[in-house]
Symmetry: C2
Subunit: 555 residues, 2 copies
């Protein structure tokens, strides 16, 4: 039995494209004498299709394309993914299914039972949970086929009361297949691989796991499809962040050497992973929306510098336009640093002063502002004047504006709505400020791309004279650690205080996060690289009261 | 047996406030010799608490407050709602539960089985589904208690395979209670009441249904708690859009006269309902966020006129500030109409010309725009200059900017991101343009508030000379009907074409809707008054391909 894994980058709703990709892979598999080729979860329509799954025309397209692909599977078998109408009396209208295609037909449908509905997942919105499980005979072997989450509950201690692979294993299959759309987070791969290995080992069955690759808006899939022998040893993986195709002989797996299950990345590895993920995500968002060119505001600071470097990697220097928008409080070194970077990366760059626009705005508002002290309102005028100019160029020339905000400032609301929070896509909005420096170090590993001065100077929004971020915020090392505990680790204020932090500091950070939710509600999608992104996967009230959960002992 | 219904307007996370409201209602019920008082779903913490339910501190507060309320229930019983930790081995960490409080303690917990996870609901994100059901004896009666959706599946033909009230009815209870947070849509009440009546009739049991009232961000609850006798006759309802409290004698229900189940509202009734719902929603968003004052841009057109009138109803004329922002293409009649309305409503109003700011922006962009023909980019500069000025005043004086976009323009993307799409809350963003005129008619029912000229002139964005909305869009009667079929009725392009529309017209509208999703992603929360709001309850990809589902026959 020879099994091919086709790890594809698919496009939601683009049936012609997805079908062609799948059929080409079937041809490749056939030419390499594979008996079966497997594809990612929901491969026929792309993942996540979201409320397109409520459209009958969409589901019809899925079934029609699945049948067309089946006609292409005469001598070879294929496992594809797609929605499958529920013909029973009760329950949701669809199943999330794997299809066994062979002999020109859909031979069998395997329905998913465990429907992730947490964090970025929302599958019970669309799908009914399967309640029975069967293996299937194909080309002389018996196969246990599961869809993604169905293999993630090996101890039935988790979020679900059942464990589909254990049920399937009772039918004594020869091997297991799992098709998935398991998204990237920088510290997730080890867990995913260990869980797959544990399934193979526990049931003493070889396992072929095909994962999706590519970005679909904010959600990034890293691929790294894996093959495990019946001892649960990882014997091969497919590419990370790229399409890949490999063929395996079932009976030769045990002869292959071990590949270690990845551990938790160190800081350099983490930043390299994030950089690669963001590059893929940015490239795919442009490709899938049909956009070619990007524009961004380049301030001379670290955030826009890293964003520009990623954009050049993803889109090519000829497709990126950097605009310097110095204002009344911009320093000369900021302009110099920005120009230096643009020249180094060889991208088009222009300088447009916001001075006159800010003056006009100030004059219009003068009758109302005259007896007040200058503050946030005046600072925001500068940030918003920049956004209007950038969006003017974006609208005129069809360049997509890249948002350059980082996760730390987005978390505490240290940013201007309709100002620096503008843009079609947030590139580093899931990267803490301290990690933005880590990305800069990776970018500068071989030669200085981002100017040393951009890295070494204290961060500043430059919206008033001699402003520093630390005027309003704790140092980023402290802030980011508190935010990581609040967000990624889902700690409450009290848990963090128990970790040794000053109660007032933690409360003030938590309040900033809770009470700035209304700002984040209106920001662009954020490329997700962590386990808890401020965007997809976090749904908070905008008008809740948070005082009770910000209480600390003794209050 | 005397049963009180306490229909409350609660606040997510505001435990002290919710607890006090609940305890006061318990005192009122006691003073009116009630044996039992019932409260809405998740009353202890407010609904929807969203990802606050992932916080252990939040859930602890819920349980602690429930116990405190229980201590207050000595001689009287209360049914409250809250999350309840799942102590079993598998499944989600919480149940959505009703608590029977009596004799100073939590006597019994009733867990919800049917977890709505569609449209605006996302309950399986947090809650495990109950799998067993029991009635309870209390004060000499046997009671069947369900939480919201558990009563919504009477035929087991729907979204779920089971029907909890039918299971409970086997234990021969004396009456049923349902506690809910069932949101408003203008055509939803009749369906809700008919379904409750059908449950009472089918099981031949009196039913007391307590629904939540009030706005929580975009989600509006209209109350209208109801009492049904064992024949399934509706015998009383509580207030719509307001808190209410009533006490009933179980054995006197059958003596009360019938109240007809509401039918589908006619157009006037519909617009009155929407107006009342929006007034409540706007008021509650301000109250729950602690905001007092609103600001908005008043153009002289119908959308901002209606928004202003609603704001005055909700917040009081002293709390609303209207800013006229005439630009290079604004007509004198627009300014006149806007001033006339502001004077009629007696609200503060100021005129700030955007001319100079637009000139400055034009000058800054001139080197780049010079060889291009004026178009959308230039139009958007005007809309964005207005937003920057409005946000400047908002930031300086702490007024919340109201967004004045309607549903028709939001649907087709006929609006400017960071321009007229700005604001903290969209007031009429779930109201089609044709219905905005209907709201104006209701507002003007007794006297002319909104100037006749605002109503009669052809709609125009006034961003270029002699512009009319119909230059770019079909007439609103046509557009709105196509949009209603696409959105509320979830029709595909083909379905609408079968209804007699020109295929090219329908496709062009559908494409506008699909391909402007990226704009709506960044807009404020929209007060929801329909069954399909462009905001909460609609989750679409931003970078999908839609050509396959826009196909029409013969393509």
């Amino acid at each position: 039995m020879r099994i091919a894994i086709s790890q594809l980058n698919l496009h939601v709703g683009n049936f012609a494209y997805n079908r062609q990709k799948i059929m080409e892979a079937i041809d490749s598999a056939r030419s390499q004498h594979a008996d079966m080729v497997i594809f990612p979860e929901l491969s026929v329509c792309g993942y996540p299709a979201r409320d397109l799954l409520y459209s009958k025309a969409f589901v019809d397209e899925c079934m029609e394309n699945t049948r067309t692909i089946a006609e292409h599977c005469t001598d070879i078998a294929a496992i594809t993914g797609g929605p499958y109408p529920n013909s029973e009396k009760g329950g949701k209208e669809l199943y999330n299914a794997a299809f066994l295609l062979y002999d020109g037909k859909i031979q069998h449908v395997f329905r998913k039972a465990l429907l992730p509905t947490y964090d970025v997942f929302n599958e019970y919105r669309y799908f009914e949970a399967a309640r029975d499980f069967h293996t299937v005979a194909c080309k002389g072997s018996r196969v246990a086929i599961t869809v993604c989450e169905d293999i993630w509950n090996p101890d039935t201690r988790g979020m679900y009361p059942i464990d589909p692979p254990a049920i399937l294993a009772q039918e004594k299959p020869d091997f297991m297949i799992n098709i998935s759309a398991s998204p990237f987070a920088w510290d997730h791969l080890g867990e995913r691989m260990a869980m797959l290995a544990e399934n193979a080992r526990r049931h003493q069955l070889p396992l072929f796991a095909c994962n999706l690759v590519g970005g679909q808006t904010d959600l990034l899939f890293d691929g790294v499809s894996g093959v495990f022998d019946k001892q649960g040893r990882l014997v091969d993986t497919l590419a990370q962040f790229d399409e890949d195709f490999k063929v395996y002989d079932l009976h030769e797996l045990s002869e292959k050497p071990d590949i270690p299950i990845p551990g938790t990345p160190n800081n350099d590895e983490k930043c390299q992973l994030i950089l690669d993920a963001l590059t893929m995500g940015l490239r795919d968002y442009f490709r899938k929306t049909g956009m070619k060119k990007a524009i961004l505001g380049l301030s001379g600071g670290i955030d826009s510098a890293v964003t520009l470097a990623i954009a050049v990697r993803a889109l090519g220097k000829e497709n990126v336009w950097a605009i310097l928008l110095p204002g009344p409080h911009s320093s000369q070194h900021s302009v110099d640093d920005a120009v230096k970077l643009a020249r180094k990366l060889d991208v088009s760059h222009d300088i447009i002063s916001i001075g006159e626009t800010v003056s006009s705005l100030g004059k219009s508002l003068e009758p109302y502002f005259k007896n007040t002290s200058p503050g946030i309102a005046e600072e925001n005028l500068q940030a918003r004047a920049r956004a209007v100019i950038l969006m003017g160029l974006s609208n005129k020339f069809g360049h997509l504006l890249l948002n350059t905000s980082n996760k730390s400032e987005a978390a505490v609301g240290y940013s201007t709505l309709y100002g620096d929070m503008s843009g079609g896509l947030s590139v580093i909005g899931d990267v803490y400020k301290t990690d933005v420096y880590g990305l800069a170090a990776v970018i500068n590993k071989e030669e200085e791309i981002i100017p040393e001065n951009t890295i070494s100077k204290p961060p500043s929004a430059e919206l008033k004279p001699d402003q520093k971020d630390t005027d309003s915020l704790p140092p980023y090392e402290v802030l980011d650690d508190i935010l990581f505990r609040l967000l990624e680790q889902n700690n409450d204020v009290n848990d963090i205080v128990s970790g040794g932090y000053d109660p007032e500091l933690v409360k003030s950070v938590a309040r900033l996060v809770f009470y700035s939710e209304y700002k984040r509600y209106q920001t662009p999608p954020v490329l997700r690289v962590s386990r808890k992104c401020l965007g997809i996967g976090r749904e908070m009230p905008l008008d809740g009261d948070y005082e009770a959960i910000c209480k600390t002992p003794g209050q």
